[in-house]
Subunit: 181 residues, 2 copies
DNA sequence: ATACGCATGTAAACAGTTACATGATTAA
DNA sequence: TTAATCATGTAACTGTTTACATGCGTAT
């Protein structure tokens, strides 16, 4: 389980509300981790109970009050310990791959179409990532360990999407060979 | 949720026990989906209750009895419907990427070492996949839609591991630049 | 002796999704 | 007036992991 640690990492770099955290999962970090707002609020409650974060009620005009969460010294300690623990092998859940094995049950063009939809999503994400990459070092100014690490994770996201697209095209071509066969 | 469908796909291609299914998750399919034996038995129970699979008790000598599960007509129908439903975007949970963003909290060489461990795992998996790929079409004899799809998923697994390794080396090199800095 | 492979399960805890619920402001 | 953005939550359900539990055969 690491939603806990993901939230701590985000709060370590910048304090914010549950809503702010949810938005970050929709951005570039969303390529590697995500969570619904319900889950985030729930997790923030637990982190608060465990003393890893604190919060301040901030009244606003024209908007609902907000709870700005901040990481505590104990939270940073927890993060440091976590960083030293072994990295668990990631669990993959690839729906598409499971379908690949069962394509013979339906018209191959069904999968062809579904691939098309996924590729469109993928293309869109790729555009966003590339735009972000192009201005990355200008934006944050100067190379540091931290910025280079974030840059490398961004590059990884781009490579993943690109290799995905190349592969999907190959699958589509193969499916076309078997059309009406 | 698709453990349900993954199990149905496996049983559609070949009847077998919960134990057999668990083994398949440790093989090439394990690159795209996995589940513990506890979860598999639980899911088989539900599939049975819903009439999507049936089973026969098979006594064995020197080994415990086994329950051989078989997909039903209703199970195949369920699979077909599932194949026509839209593919959900996959949820990624990449622990390593989260750590990348927080490297500045610890000695960079900690991550360097952890990457080394992951790369070793990755190398091992790659070797297995490549061996399987080399003899794939000889083994199953002849190209069909189904065999080509399985082959493409195998190739995808190989590409993923390879791109992963290339990227990890780059991260390690970057971490070395910042050693003692 | 010890461990590994075969074979199946229960129970408790934890993680994550979906549905429901509220309510103000602002832009099309 | 319809939808989006800001902002927070509860409740029920489903999915997943971890711990516990059994027991024979075979190989080292």
């Amino acid at each position: 389980m690491s939603l806990k640690h993901t939230i701590l990492v985000l709060l370590e770099s910048e304090s914010g509300t549950g809503y702010d955290i949810a938005k970050k999962f929709q951005g570039s970090l969303g390529n590697f981790w995500s969570a619904s707002h319900q889950q985030i609020y729930h997790e923030l409650g637990k982190l608060d109970k465990d003393g890893l974060v604190t919060w301040k009620q901030v009244p606003q005009e024209g908007k609902p009050d907000k709870k700005v969460y901040e990481i505590t010294a104990s939270g940073i300690e927890e993060l440091r310990n976590w960083m030293h623990s072994p990295i668990p092998s990631q669990k993959v859940r690839d729906h598409l791959m499971v379908r690949m094995v069962a394509t013979h049950l339906v018209d191959p063009m069904v999968l062809h179409e579904q691939l098309g939809e996924i590729m469109a999503r993928c293309d869109k994400k790729l555009t966003t990532l590339k735009q972000f990459e192009a201005t990355f070092f200008d934006m944050i100014g100067g190379k540091t360990l931290q910025s280079e690490m974030i840059y490398l994770s961004l590059k990884r996201g781009i490579e993943l999407q690109e290799s995905w697209l190349r592969w999907a095209e190959e699958v589509q071509a193969t499916l076309e060979k078997y059309r009406d066969a």
